[in-house]
Symmetry: C2
Subunit: 198 residues, 2 copies
């Protein structure tokens, strides 16, 4: 199982946002939507052994479960509609009990720390950091959890929490990438593990 946790600092926590302005009034929800697409889509299939957790404003977590997804499309707008639908049922999310809001999509009332602690129990937390070891030279963990931030850097308290829970610290290359591009590179690194490199 490959897991990705993405923090959406400005992401909406209520469903009152327009699908016509994802990059503006919807708090750069476009970034999170592209992360979902990068995490799940292959050319003609969905990666079933993947789970994605979007942290919305440190208040809610929307989880996408690859093996159960039925209505995911690759464009930003349709993914944003699934997130909006999840937030419409936020009154049902009590404590840490997830509510399934569409097939393979569920909402939990918890922020970064609660979600990180949960995934850390079941996988190897990998911190992506420009000063980390180059990922191409690192043996791939069996159940990696990659933690990423949206268009903002991690806040100090998030970085501290992550440094505490992380098992490895790696860099994807010499250039800092968008979160969704980082997910694509991480997948490719895992897909091609063991390949001879020029």
């Amino acid at each position: 199982m490959r897991q990705f946790v993405i923090i959406g600092h400005d992401a909406p926590t209520t469903p009152e946002f327009s699908l016509d302005d994802l990059a503006g009034a919807a708090g750069r929800l476009d970034v999170l939507c592209r992360c979902v697409t990068s995490a799940f889509f292959l050319s003609h299939a969905i990666r079933e052994d993947v789970r994605v957790h979007l942290i919305l404003g440190d208040e809610y977590t929307v989880t996408f479960e690859g093996s159960d997804l039925r209505r995911l499309n690759p464009d930003e707008r349709s993914t944003a509609a699934l997130i909006r639908k999840a937030l419409e049922e936020r009154e049902e999310a009590i404590g840490h009990i997830p509510v399934e809001t569409s097939p393979g999509v569920s909402l939990t009332r918890r922020g970064f720390e609660g979600t990180l602690d949960d995934v850390a129990r079941r996988g190897t937390v990998v911190q992506l950091h420009e000063d980390g070891d180059p990922i191409v030279g690192v043996a791939p963990p069996s159940d990696p959890v990659f933690v990423l931030s949206d268009h903002h850097d991690f806040r100090d308290e998030e970085a501290a929490l992550l440094a505490d829970r992380a098992d490895e610290r790696v860099s994807l290359g010499p250039k800092a990438l968008h979160a969704d591009h980082s997910i694509t590179v991480a997948h490719n690194y895992l897909d091609t593990a063991g390949f001879e490199r020029y």
Copy 2:
């Protein structure tokens, strides 16, 4: 210079399309928009040494020039608006003379063959193919031109043309990827050329 040519088989050739339905009535323009984002965006910068050519319905080519781009944003909708703006000036595109329709974006009245022949003169054409040599084991060319297709496979005549013009045939890994994800992987392969691999 890294160049990417992406064929949009169902892409619009007139500006009469809605930004609200990129994945539907606009002929999967969402795919081409994500390709542009993958080609140019770094975390806090634009890759200036990149050029992208979107082939619209084998009739027009919209070219994005990294060093001249001024109004590019990473979300699908705003990139689609730049493409629509280019198509609004299609009457100005006569023969093979490009018309600049916004800073760094230009429109030319030519399809795949004309564009491919033009870029092939200035770079190494790399065909991405599942049966190709694994890219991680191939020495990176200095001025690569990657040719990709949208959500459809290459048509027979496109594949034949590409096979004829291609200098190399490589695969990005064991899984077939979306065009935009392929661009991200290709960039990372070039960015990390020479890194030791596990």
